[in-house]
Amino acid sequence: MSLRELIQTQIEDDTKRVLPKDLTNGQLLWFVHTLNAGHGRLLQSNRETAMARNFSCYNGVVIGSAFFNSAGESYGPTSMVAGTTQSTPTVVTNIYFPSYQGACSGQPYGTGGLGLTYQWTSYNINAVTISGSNAMDYASLYGAGAGTAEVDVLVTDQYNCTAGAGGNTTVTPKLQLTLGNQHGSIFVGTDTHLSTPNSFFATVLPTGGTFTEASSASGDTFAPVQSGGPGWVVTTKTQSASNGDRKLTVTYTVSGQNPVSQSLNVTARQFAYLTNNSPSNICTLGYGTKRVYTYTPYTHPDKTAVQAGIGVTDTAVTESFNLPPPAGTETGSGVLDANSQFTDTLAYCSTSPLPGSPTVTQTFSIEGYQVRQNTLAYSSTGITYASLGPTQ
């Protein structure tokens, strides 16, 4: 491009201005819009003396300030829960053509920068730590404990110009409750063997705070778990009216911090009725019958079978009779097994003919709640069994 030609032919620029015809000196600033994309020089020549000389210099852009993305997003997260990780927005720098060699400010040019390095710092690592790299244009913040931390980033360019940005993050204590079973259930009763499904546990950060427990049902009590705590065994004598209506709430207080609470919604299930299989007669002694029944307990209000493996193993199943069974008949109460079922043998089986006997009523109870009555009619042919319910 010839400056002489621009002056002599009065070529207009984008704003319709022209250079004065008598222009003999001035200052020239030129650049290309794409960084490092253009190279050039200013050539001054004199035809009369057949002399020419070059003028050229180079200076890249520098950073002057930093902020969190071009949409004007501010620093974050300003709050988070201990034990969680959240990312900050991406940090962006404003760039300038420096006013002079070595300057870190000048004519604004846009955003970006070359050869930038980042250094993130938390000024309260008890509350916030930088998770992973602290040298990227964003940071992952980990809530290490309760409190407030100032988190800053320092951006440095290749000319050692710097820009900073940051803010405060407040971390609240973590409280997470987990029930001892996967079925959202607790069981009505006081048998210690119900402690497994009736347990729930708290995961907290930081540790060392204090807990308070509450239930939406009056009369429910809480006792610390034997192991795996912090956690509690809830004992209830009141059945839920509807599924999931029982709310167990724990409040956790860390010194100097606001208390945090969490609730679990569970169903307080009461043993209510049984179903059973239909076993065949396996008496092989010659006279009578022997049948081994497998019973599955159901609960109210959900009318659901007690799930296998829910943890009610060894919960007592008692049976009683309105009249004594025939002489020589042994009776024995049972317990729920790991499948949450129990077996009951009805045997009146002998190598010689059986004496006839009366009909008795057998009653099963679990946790004190009557769950089934059967009539057992003893005769010389064995036991005739009939259920009296309940059926739901």
């Binding site: 299989n277 092989t284 069974p325 024995g332 009805l346 009146y348 002998s350 190598t351 309940p390």
Partner: protein, 250 residues
Amino acid sequence: MRQSGASLKYAALPFLVALLFGVSGVMAGNQSKTQSAPENKILDTKVPEFELHNQTLVDGLWKLARGPEPFAFGFERVLKKRLSDPEMQDPGFSLQLKNKTVREVLDALCQADSRFTWSMDGATVNVFPRAVANDPTYLLNRKLAKFELRNATDVQDGLLAIVHQLPPPIEQVANSQVGGADPYPPEPWTVILENVTIRQVINQLAAHGGPSGIWIFGGANDFRSFGFFNTHPSPWLLKSKESRPEDTRP
């Protein structure tokens, strides 16, 4: 090993020599007079607290056997003469023991109801009437030079084998119970025992259903019956029930 209660140490000597080892193949007596590990483990177990309130000896046994160290036991009631005779009431008593061993609790129980004494057969505690301890005609004292059981899948198979292998006439025995169970593993069980009493055979029959097999013998001289219970079934039983059978609504 067989170990007797304090009051039976001499009286029951003839029955103390039949020893059992293992659960399959041939088992013979007179193996050793030293106490076996299972016996010691059971009898020396400390019971922090043991209380009975106007309860019977068998109530106490159930309670003890479900304690810190569950164990198998066989309990033999005092038989009525005839089934039609009035029921015999077992005396109730109260006990309050602290930090005693199982052995000491068994002694205390048999002191409280002095009709009974106890002994040990392998890992099974046997409690039976003193009055029959030396009675060779009493069913459970009778001896078999050889007891052979083949392909048993239920405890009844063992009872049937006993009555068929005793000298004639065929003895009456029954399995009469309401409640509990002591089911056998599905795989047929074959065992041969030598020089054993019927009590020892019954111990083995009960133990095959699981380590905490409990049996109770009662009734009358003209109707003798057993009940078999196991409150801690073996893992195979739970595995076999992993798929619950289709229930029928009551």
